[in-house]
Symmetry: C2
Subunit: 308 residues, 2 copies
């Protein structure tokens, strides 16, 4: 029986090494080098090729290499009985909270404008927002969203949170699904941390931007498909959105010719807000592999109906 | 009796308005428009012209407009009996902590490198430091330094602190004056928040950089005179210092021709880490003015011998 690591454009050897370091008896293979497809029982996948999973008749479970599972849910080659799990770890949440906090502080303090001024040897103080002027709002209060909301709050920001079911977080004003309007009208800096589902795809559109409190800023660290790209361009051009920080895109790597690259009001990072640490994920994978073999519940299994 | 506001290259009207809003009976003048020099009892000064204060025979106290008082202590026209106070406020500390936290996070997460890549439409993840890899060290644990050390710690950083007398701060490893070597050899990201005195002038020199833990980073938010500029250039060129973030300079505005401007490893901001809010300072000034007139102790009076 084997555990199969599947990813495109990513070196999976550090993950295999970390798993073997945890348990040297494990049989770990890296796609496409598979000795015998019938032996594959557990797979770990990120950006996997289309229609791959039909080939493994004894596959029982697939784990995402990250917090999101949309790439697995959208893959129709994965038969229904196959269980899907995702990766959750303190370091993932912490990196994500750091990324969002950094983005928010840089928006507040005009970091990018000062970099630009330095290139011109220009010494000029730029008016800046105080924390009291702007409220942050986190959409999606799962493990990552909750940690980010808490970190922003701890650093003195006013924070709103919006999620399907209302969450209780100290000093965070929480809104439920049908209070989206109220949430947006109290939020200047919108941080998208939603899972990607049929309901959330394209949620960041012009209609939503118009409901936000002015001045409005957007940070997307969830999935590119949450955003209607042409609506963001329009919102930036008309001043509806002042600035956007994007770590995720509907097509990654972002194509050379994409208009986002050259927009001064958009800050782009190459999907690096939170990166999976091989050592940390190895621990969870070994645990879940053993649980699978002994017929126990899996950790961080997702509900394929709900999509998270 | 009047209160005199003195500053060069700075609009002092918002400060006068804020003081009058606090107490409309105050007599507030803005230098150089002084009706009768004999009536000036209390002055507020920032970047004042040289040898000004000899002209006011009844001047009893001078307040700095910021946390630093080096510009007042270095002014030989201020007779000894004149008391000197400084400005301390939660918003000053909070802005400073935000600035340092932003700088530290940007160093960790390669923000500037991603801005550069975006200009080239380049999609490439850059290896980044984890919080566990680098320890921050705050030099100077006064009101501002203490708040910054606490904020970095609260955000998950390992933090050392160095000050003349050892300070007790939760989860911050504190070193005293004669433990500078130990402090530096445990510190990767050095944050200078010292007062400028004869003892601290030029403290950031090659000898000190050599004692730091590698990789080493420098953040200076105190005074330009703490830094030996040519030593920093040498340390950056030889890789002894990886990157520096500077908000203060020995000559401000930083001259057009200064070599710092064009260095890729130096990030420059125009002395904006922490800016005095007129409303907040007005409260303290009115209070201290009244205390002076009634012969009471002044708030935040400094010891002119010690220099802080």
């Amino acid at each position: 029986m084997s555990l199969l690591l599947v990813a495109q454009h990513r070196d999976m050897k550090p993950f295999r090494d970390a798993i073997l370091e945890k348990d040297s008896n494990m049989d770990v293979e890296i796609w496409p080098e598979v000795q015998d497809p019938r032996r594959v029982q557990f797979a770990v996948a990120w950006n996997q090729p289309k229609n791959l999973f039909g080939q493994y008749p004894n596959l029982k479970a697939i784990s995402s290499l990250g917090a999101g599972v949309d790439h697995l849910l959208a893959d129709s080659s994965i038969p229904d009985p196959i269980r899907i799990t995702r990766f959750v770890a303190p370091s993932l949440s912490d990196q994500m909270s750091d990324y969002v906090l950094t983005a928010v502080l840089n928006l507040l303090r005009n970091t990018e404008e000062y970099y630009r001024q330095q290139k011109q040897s220009e010494w000029k103080a730029v008016p800046f927002f105080s924390k009291n002027d702007l409220a942050a709002g986190v959409m999606g209060l799962g493990e990552l969203g909750r940690d980010t909301a808490e970190r922003l709050q701890m650093n003195g920001f006013k924070v709103n949170g919006w999620s399907k079911s209302k969450k209780e977080i100290d000093d965070v004003v929480s809104y439920s699904e049908n209070e989206l309007n109220e949430f947006l009208s109290a939020t200047n800096i919108l941080v998208c941390m939603l899972p990607l589902t049929n309901e959330t795809e394209g949620i960041l559109d012009l209609k939503l931007f118009k409901m936000m409190k002015q001045p409005a800023f957007l940070i997307n660290v969830a999935r590119g498909e949450h955003l209607v790209e042409e609506d963001l361009i329009y919102a930036l051009d008309t001043g509806l959105i002042t600035r956007a920080v994007l770590d995720v895109f509907s097509k990654e790597p972002l194509p050379d010719s994409h208009p986002f690259w050259s927009r001064e009001k958009i800050t782009i990072t190459p999907h690096i807000a939170s990166l999976t640490n091989p050592k940390e994920v190895a621990e969870l994978l070994v645990e879940n592999y053993k649980r699978l073999l002994s017929g126990m519940d899996l950790l961080y299994e997702i509900d394929r109906e709900k999509g998270y």
